[in-house]
Amino acid sequence: MIEIKDLHKSYQMGSNSLHVLKGIDFNVEAGELVAIMGSSGSGKSTLLNILGMLDVADSGEYLLDGLPIKNLNETKAANYRNKFLGFIFQSFNLINYKTALENVALPLYYQGVGRKERQEKALKYLEQVGLKEWSHHLPSELSGGQKQRVAVARAMAAEPKVLLADELTGALDSTTSYEIMDLIQKINDLGNTILVVTHEDDIAHMCKRIVHLKDGVIVEDKKIEQVRASQYVQ
């Protein structure tokens, strides 16, 4: 699903150049649930941004479902993001004046899906994350866990090829974190490819594979025995 070869990225910090990614080689198959781990400054967020087409690499190859991702203009990047990728952020990033339902329906709006179909689909995904009854509430009326569920539903709504989650439990307490991970696991069980960036060990171990990043290179890449989050959830 994702093929990355010799990816380099450096940031210009005044006169110094900060080499953040120093040649990443990395493949993800369809249906995988991968945790990308590393301390801050290891380059994991940068990698995720490049994978998410929110940022561009200096050199290297990036194929998404066989499609080379390079030299994208803003419009094309936006279209690819809309079609191929779903984002889940640490700070939820819901639009605060839109209801849960409207937030979930927004990616479909940008896909040009008709209003009625949008609402039906959005409701379906809200139901999947267990928030059907909350569909007409504003984000301010929801708890942190509920907001993240809405964000997951939104990421799912466009039916992307890959879900990218950036510290998706970073702003949540551990119980809620497990609930969200339980949801992520269930989505993965349905065959969705998911990448999770985290620095929390327990969260990483709820994935099926852990990729360790240190100082811009992959130091460890191993498949693990998945810890099911459902056992922590009542």
């Binding site: 940022d55 803003e74 419009t75 819901l94 709006y109 209003r115």
Partner: protein, 410 residues
């Protein structure tokens, strides 16, 4: 871009962000409202000005007698100049191409009596053409006519307020009044836009006045109404020739400015129109300034609005909004708000002007303030256009920001 979905999305955004919508709409409304009120008031001021200076016909030259100040051709200075009937005839014969009517005016104040009521009024001996120079409007009966002048009849035309004073509102036509010891029959009642003073005057044939005064042929003033086709330049030329002719006839030095005086209404009118033009210009500059202030106001708000929405723009981009759609929706939203509020402000402004009407005429010299629909709509569209432009520039910049940067914006 203009699908129903786009509009629905915009309406939702507008409805959910009431303060923002109110602020930008209010700025535009207020700007247009102030512009229209100000511009209308300015027009009202110009109206007052026009009204003030256009009570009398504009194609009139008045000639007043004076005293010479320079000795000339054997005559000493300080000689009193008088006009008589022959001057009327000579002017008419010398300038037949220019003169439409010519009339003398002989002013006398006389005690006028009807029954028990008595009062002092200015009586003016005139020729029948005088009616047109003063824009005298006959309410009842008729004006002095040619027969009155030729046959020296004792007919009089009295002002509206003379009738009010002497007849207590009863009809004066056909009644006989005593003017300074002579009996006149009232043949007409007139009104005059010139005001109360002019409506307390009495017109009689100048020939009758001369007959009463021992059959003299002296007259006070000469009123010449020239043909309107002459225009301003023609009027100035006529005035020049007339002065030369009269100076020659009355043996007044060409350099003597005091032998008689000429007032050319056309020339005054030109100056007054120039003055009114300057007034209009000042009003326009002020109104233009208001529009500029409005544009700056809406620009500020648009910059703030886009700044406030930077994160939202980042979210929208991350989930697949293209820059075009981001700019499009911000732009459409701002155009929608400015259009609705702009035209609301415009209608309120026009309403305010209607409501003011003539209430400010007495104290503030503002008559019938108005703004032409074209100017109002033009100003509104200008404001909408610049409101949109002011929204476009920051929106374009915001849409170019990388989503990752916009998302970090808290």
């Amino acid at each position: 871009m203009f699908s129903r979905d786009t509009w629905r999305e915009i309406f939702v955004t507008i409805r959910k962000n009431k303060l923002r919508t109110f602020l930008s709409g209010f700025t535009v409304s207020l700007g247009i409202l102030i512009f229209i009120t100000l511009f209308g008031m300015g027009n009202g001021l110009v109206n007052t000005f026009d009204e003030f200076f256009s009570q009398d016909a504009t194609n009139v030259i008045y000639v007043f007698p004076g005293r010479t100040s320079i000795p000339y051709k054997g005559y000493k200075s300080n000689r009193t100049i008088e006009f008589d009937n022959s001057d009327l005839k000579d002017i008419e014969e010398t300038f037949p191409m220019f003169v439409e009517y010519i009339s003398p005016r002989i002013f006398r104040t006389a005690t006028t009596t009807y029954g028990e009521e008595s009062n002092d009024y200015t009586t003016i001996g005139v020729d029948w053409g005088q009616q047109f120079a003063e824009k005298t409007i006959i309410m009842q009966g008729r004006y002095i006519n040619q027969r009155d002048v030729e046959e020296r009849t004792r007919n009089a035309v009295i002002g509206r307020l003379v009738e009010v004073d002497l007849f207590n509102g009863r009809n004066a036509i056909g009644k006989f009044i005593d003017i300074g010891g002579s009996v006149f029959k009232v043949v007409g009642v007139f009104q005059d836009e010139g005001g109360d003073n002019e409506e307390r005057q009495i017109y009689i044939p100048y020939t009758t006045r001369q007959l009463i005064e021992k059959n003299t042929d002296k007259i006070n003033q000469i009123v010449i109404q020239f043909k309107p086709e002459l225009g301003y330049t023609g009027a100035v030329a006529l005035e020049k020739n007339l002065v030369r002719f009269l100076k020659d006839k009355k043996f007044i030095s060409p350099d003597d400015q005091n032998g008689f005086f000429v007032r050319n209404v056309a020339e005054n009118l030109k100056q007054n129109q120039d003055f009114a033009g300057v007034l209009q210009l000042i009003v326009s500059v002020v109104a233009f300034g208001t529009i500029i202030a409005g544009i700056i106001g809406i620009s500020n708000i648009m910059v703030y609005v886009v700044k406030e929405r930077t994160k939202e723009i980042g979210i929208r981009k991350a989930i697949g909004a293209t820059p075009k759609r981001v700019i499009g929706s911000i732009l459409l939203e701002s155009i929608f708000i400015t259009t609705v509020s702009g035209f609301t402000g415009m209608l309120i402004g026009i309403g305010v002007l209607k409501w003011i009407g003539n209430t400010l005429k007495e104290d503030y010299f503002i008559t019938n303030p108005y703004i032409s629909t074209g100017v109002a709509i033009f100003a509104t569209i200008i404001l909408i256009f610049f409101g949109a432009l002011a929204g476009y520039i920051p929106a374009r910049r915001a849409a170019r920001i990388k989503p990752i940067v916009a998302l970090r914006n808290e």
